[in-house]
């Protein structure tokens, strides 16, 4: 099993969710986050004085998937979250030791 963590542009969330549903992903967890990468921040003016917005709002997805589905998940997120402009985000993959469905006690891939 793998845990796919993707940081994406907030306005792309619906597209990514649909793309993941289409390939059979059963559930995702979404968190509103802030951060910076190569895009860095941007400057704004408040009452005539400049200030820097260091951390930009992003959405973080956590998707636990069976290892067989991994390449498809990565492709689905990469395509659906891509705008071609700086700040599209990143995908991190880590191995997942165990998963348990609380209601039934199922474990492993069955629980995903």
């Amino acid at each position: 099993m793998k845990l796919v963590t993707a940081i994406i542009k907030p306005f792309k969330l619906d597209d990514v969710r649909e793309a993941l549903s289409d390939i059979g992903v059963q559930g995702i967890t979404v968190t509103e986050v802030k951060g910076f990468g190569r895009q860095k921040g941007h400057t704004e003016l408040y009452r005539g004085a400049e200030y820097v917005v260091d951390f930009l709002p992003k959405v973080k997805l956590d998707v636990a998937v069976d290892s067989e589905l991994l390449e498809q998940v990565i492709e689905a997120i990469s395509k659906s979250a891509n705008t071609g402009k700086i700040g599209d985000g990143k995908i991190f993959v880590s191995s997942l030791e165990q998963a348990i469905r609380i209601r039934t006690g199922e474990t492993g891939s069955e629980a995903l």
């Binding site: 003016l45 408040y46 009452r47 005539g48 004085a49 400049e50 200030y51």
Partner: protein, 423 residues
């Protein structure tokens, strides 16, 4: 029959006065919301506490001694209820004035209308010193401001008294219809003195003259506050006609309402466009300040301009306020809500705009009046702020400022779930 007509007119004018006073009272809500929106979330509870407490202090101090000092209305309002001859006296005054003469109305309504103006002047101070002043030092200042400083300069203007027996502003032709100078610039002068003694918020200015903006926490509240002030201003200026009960007065009231609205609109558009040209984006808080600048600008003379002229006077105020806010930041005078610019700098413009449309006013008299009010309020305020600094200190500790004065002064966060204590 004539007596009945006078009674009706008396009732109508008194009622008009009371309703306008209630509208001006509502401006306290406007100031509270505007200031709550323009400070950071961690300083919200304290500024709300300040706003409601200062209104109550103003009400009580003006009752105790302010009204006596300003209009000779009696210490503790003694005699305001009137004796058994109250109705007979009022009827005699009405007969003397005639139906279209000066307004005759209940003395109690006059006090009520005047007291809410004192509170307005004091409200101006609270925004400028926000986010770093000790609550109790501020409230102690409010006692002196509303009980002594404002009533004295009020006496020299609307009260008709001589300035320390030296000269009389009314006699030289000083005109300030509803208080661009008497109320708004006076409040700003006290605020300026406070800010100079207090210093800027930590982090606002860098060592090499950089300005670091500290953004307000709640733009919807700031906007609501501005709308409330705009509405209350109809009472502020409209009520200052002092009479509704005959056709000429009714027309004057309608004109004042119209011009007040026109000036606010001019201020909004001018500030919006000025900020767009200077900064490249629509700047909401500057636009809100523009509305108030338009209102302050027209307050000294909403009765004489044409509606177009009123819009222009307001628009000039809207341009002035944007440059004034930038200029004060360059001077490192930290005013979180822009009160000194809106009420002080534009208040002076309001006074100077009167002679443009009112033949009874002169630039010389307007300048003399502005200087008299400013020097008195500013120097007295400076003395009081310094005295408070020595006696009890006026600034919270650096750590309390960092954590927010909500916790250090009031022990309560305004938005407990969302407050970010590290920011």
């Amino acid at each position: 029959m004539e007596s009945n007509v006078f009674q009706l007119q008396y009732a109508m004018d008194t009622f008009y006065f009371l309703v306008c006073g209630a509208l001006v009272m509502w401006m306290a809500a406007g100031f509270a919301m505007l200031e709550a929106g323009m400070v950071r979330a961690k300083n919200t509870t304290e500024i709300l506490t300040k706003n409601i407490a200062l209104f109550a202090i103003a009400s009580i101090m003006y009752l105790i001694c302010g009204y006596q000092l300003m209009y000779g209305g009696g210490w503790f309002l003694s005699g305001i209820a009137g004796g058994e001859s109250l109705v007979a006296d009022a009827l005699a005054s009405s007969a003397e004035e005639g139906f279209e003469g000066g307004a005759v109305y209940s003395k109690a309504s006059d006090f009520f209308f005047q007291v809410v103006f004192v509170a307005t002047a004091m409200s101006i101070v609270s925004g400028a010193v926000a986010e770093r002043m000790k609550l109790w030092a501020f409230l102690a200042f409010a006692v002196v401001m509303t009980g002594l400083i404002y009533p004295m300069s009020g006496n020299w203007t609307w009260g008709g008294g001589d300035v320390f027996g030296l000269y009389n502003l009314g006699e030289i032709g000083f005109v300030d219809f509803a208080g661009s100078g008497i109320v708004h610039m006076a409040g700003a002068a006290a605020a300026l003195a406070g800010v100079l003694v207090l210093g800027a918020r930590k982090g606002k200015y860098g060592p090499n003259g950089e300005v670091h903006p500290i953004t307000g926490a709640n733009m919807p509240l700031a906007t609501l506050g501005t709308f409330i002030l705009w509405m209350g201003w109809f009472g502020f200026n409209g009520g200052s006609v002092l009479k509704l009960g005959d056709m000429a007065s009714a027309n004057a009231v309608a004109m004042v309402f119209l011009n007040t609205n026109a000036a606010a609109a001019g201020g909004v558009v001018a500030a919006l466009v000025t900020a767009r040209l200077l900064f490249g984006k629509a700047d909401l808080t500057m636009t809100l300040n523009g509305a108030l600048a338009g209102l302050v600008a027209i307050t000294a003379g909403p009765d004489t301009p044409t509606p177009l002229m009123a819009s222009i006077i307001g628009a000039v105020g809207g341009v002035i306020v944007v440059f004034s806010i930038i200029g004060l930041d360059k001077l490192r005078i930290d005013d979180p809500v822009g009160a000194i610019s809106v009420h002080g700098v534009v208040g002076i413009w309001g006074l100077l705009a009167v002679p443009l449309t009112n033949g009874d006013a002169s630039f010389g008299a307007q300048i003399a009046g502005a200087i008299t009010i400013f020097v008195w309020v500013f120097s007295m305020s400076l003395i009081v702020w310094f005295a408070l600094k020595v006696i009890m200190g006026i600034r919270v500790s650096e750590e309390d400022e960092y954590n927010g004065v909500d916790i250090s002064e009031c022990g309560l966060e305004a938005y407990p779930e969302f407050t970010n204590s590290t920011k």
